[in-house]
Amino acid sequence: MSKRGIFLLIISILGALILQTSVLPVYVDSLFKPDLLLVIMVLLALRVSYGTGAPLAWLLGLLKDVFSGLYLGLNAFSFLFIFIIIRSVADRLYAESGFLYVVTVSVATLAGVTINLLLLLLFTNTPAIAYSMISGLLPHLLFNAFAASLVALLPLFASVEEVA
């Protein structure tokens, strides 16, 4: 990854963190909050190699755990798992496609919630969280897809004309 790429990544992560912890909660209901770190992680999974991306995905998850819930390592595990799955098929996909990116973020959201739910049910004593997670899944999925579609407008994705 180039120095410019690292710089942009750090700025994006910091921006996402501030936006998600201090800005969005003031204006939107907690159900309608996108998971911007997941959106960044999926971008990494589609574009960056295993060697660089896997530790970054784990660190992104860990960063999310620092600012969320009680269980350090929960999102770190799910992010790493999702990264590996996406990375393993990314070479066979047209990673520059914005549409594919939105679909991948949606699938990653579903996978993330499923993995987190399984881990919480297996290792913690909070069975009732399943209701909260399942009832909040649809808005979460839609807002993640919306955030991903905004990212897909950036120049690093191919335009519709180019795809055609």
């Binding site: 912890t21 909660p25 907690s30 600012f67 969320s68 819930g69 999102n75 913690t124 969280i129 909040g136």
Partner: protein
């Protein structure tokens, strides 16, 4: 002849003045009615007056509305700036007033707590949608430890779970992982308040025989030593006793609106 030349003009002027005086004096009794001269003059002049007056107004309009606008733009900018400044001041005054009310209520709460407390502001929310924690702007440098109780003007907020140097995370009472020993104020029935994740809580482990009614106030029982006995937790909004089972299903609406927390009090007692 020379006399006439010498005094003729004076006599004429004097005569004219005298005639004018006589004319004036004759018209005094009829000062409210137009005489022939007035009527004639008005009759002649009035057709001219109207268009001239319109033209004058038209010119005045052009002058005021188009030509004499040199300072209007500056005035406009100045007034717009003033309006913005005044609006900003009104908003900040209102904000200060609301903050004052909140802090007054917080101070009232503080006076009911026997232990020393520390005021903190909420600076961040939980990243995920299903966990309910907030970040406050006080940490270990202010003497905070994990396990300390956090309250607001209305009652219990939660418990400190993670502490860094200048920030801490507070587990809200609405989180699934939260559990607070509680008592129904009226009947002294006991249970554990657990978060339901949707802004509400449930009172668990309260047996079917216990007397719990809608609207009952739920307070901290003091068991466990984290929350002071009697601190308000919420109000019972639903009670359900099934045909089977040992316990009742009780839903509680927290006394504190955890969605809009701004300032909290950390009770500087206990902790890990």
């Amino acid at each position: 002849m020379s006399m006439l030349k010498k005094y003729g003009l004076i006599a004429l002027i004097a005569g004219g003045v005298f005639v004018a005086l006589i004319f004036f004096s004759l018209n005094i009794p009829r000062n409210r009615e137009a005489n022939a001269i007035e009527r004639s003059v008005l009759y002649i002049i009035s057709p001219v007056m109207k268009p001239v007056s319109r033209i004058s107004f038209f010119i005045a309009d052009i002058w005021d509305g188009y030509i004499n606008l040199v300072t209007v733009r500056q005035d406009n900018l100045r007034l717009t700036r003033q309006i913005k400044e005044l609006n900003t001041r009104i908003v900040s005054d209102n904000e200060a007033l609301l903050e004052n009310r909140r802090l007054t209520r917080l101070l009232e709460m503080k006076e009911t707590i026997n232990e020393s407390t520390l005021t903190a502001s909420v600076v961040g929310d939980d990243l995920s949608n299903w966990f309910h924690t907030v970040i406050i702007d006080r940490g270990s440098s202010s003497g905070l430890h994990e396990g300390m109780a956090v309250v607001a003007a209305g009652g219990v907020v939660g418990q400190i779970v993670k502490v860094s140097l200048d920030n801490s995370r507070v587990l809200l009472l609405t989180d699934h992982s939260s559990g607070i020993a509680a008592t129904i104020q009226r009947s002294r029935a006991r249970g554990v308040v657990k978060g339901k994740g949707d802004g509400l809580c449930s009172l668990e482990f309260t047996t079917r025989e216990e007397d719990v009614k809608l609207g009952d106030q739920v307070i901290a029982s003091g068991v466990g030593g984290v929350f002071m006995k009697g601190t308000p937790i919420g109000e019972v909004t639903m009670v359900k006793k099934g045909e089977y089972g040992i316990f009742q299903t009780i839903t509680i609406r927290p006394a504190v609106n955890t969605e809009h927390l701004e300032e909290v009090l950390v009770v500087l007692k206990g902790g890990i």
